[in-house]
Symmetry: C2
Amino acid sequence: MYKKILVAFDGSPYSQKALTAGIELARCCGSELHALTVVSLPEYAGTVGEVEEMVGKAQDFYRKKLEKASQQARAKGVELNVHLLFGHIGETIIRFAQEQECDLIIAGTRGWSPLQRLLMGSVSTYIVRHAPCAVLIEKGKEEDEND
Amino acid sequence: MYKKILVAFDGSPYSQKALTAGIELARCCGSELHALTVVSLPEYAGTVGEVEEMVGKAQDFYRKKLEKASQQARAKGVELNVHLLFGHIGETIIRFAQEQECDLIIAGTRGWSPLQRLLMGSVSTYIVRHAPCAVLIEKGKEEDEND
């Protein structure tokens, strides 16, 4: 079964569902579990200082989310390896999965509106298209946002 | 974890990979496992006899594939429930998953060529877009066709 599972995690309820599935699968199958948060930086920023401030704030914010995720995994007896990277979200997830030789990527999605279906521009779609391995898409509903 | 898993199975090496994943997951997680083969019929056929002949041949061909799939599952200690339906492939898989209240659909894909990425017309893409539940996409490589 899957030896190394990567959860694409941004702290949203959709990615929370992906994390829960990852923890349960890792527990069932004895897999190594990783959670990766990717923060995209704006292409144009005013000053170096502005970017540094943005990076610092993102690090504080997401490290807390990742620490909470680790606790959730630990409570189920699973060790979660957490990672925080900056860059293009889809590309960074795919590159990480390649480099780490993950054999499953789990991502959440809220499902698609008719317009989204047309544009097909979401991160989960990017992952399904470009992943070097199996991809599990966990679906959320709008009301999950209030979880 | 997943209680009822549906594998979209057409006997191709890509769907064989999906079946293998389904069997292993069902074994790990104690899930109920189903395999569904959908045969699409041509929209225009010459005579009723022609359609009947086509249906008969498809039934013979796919029932053997499904029987082999059942044996593969049984060898791993998993009971596989097999189904053969006729209709639009994507729609029939989704409707089956809804009616049977499956919580995971597994499908195989060979990955996408640049043109396929543009068109995004494959069955696996249809399933990811329309599924009422989680979707696991198992990826094959071209050489798997010779498996």
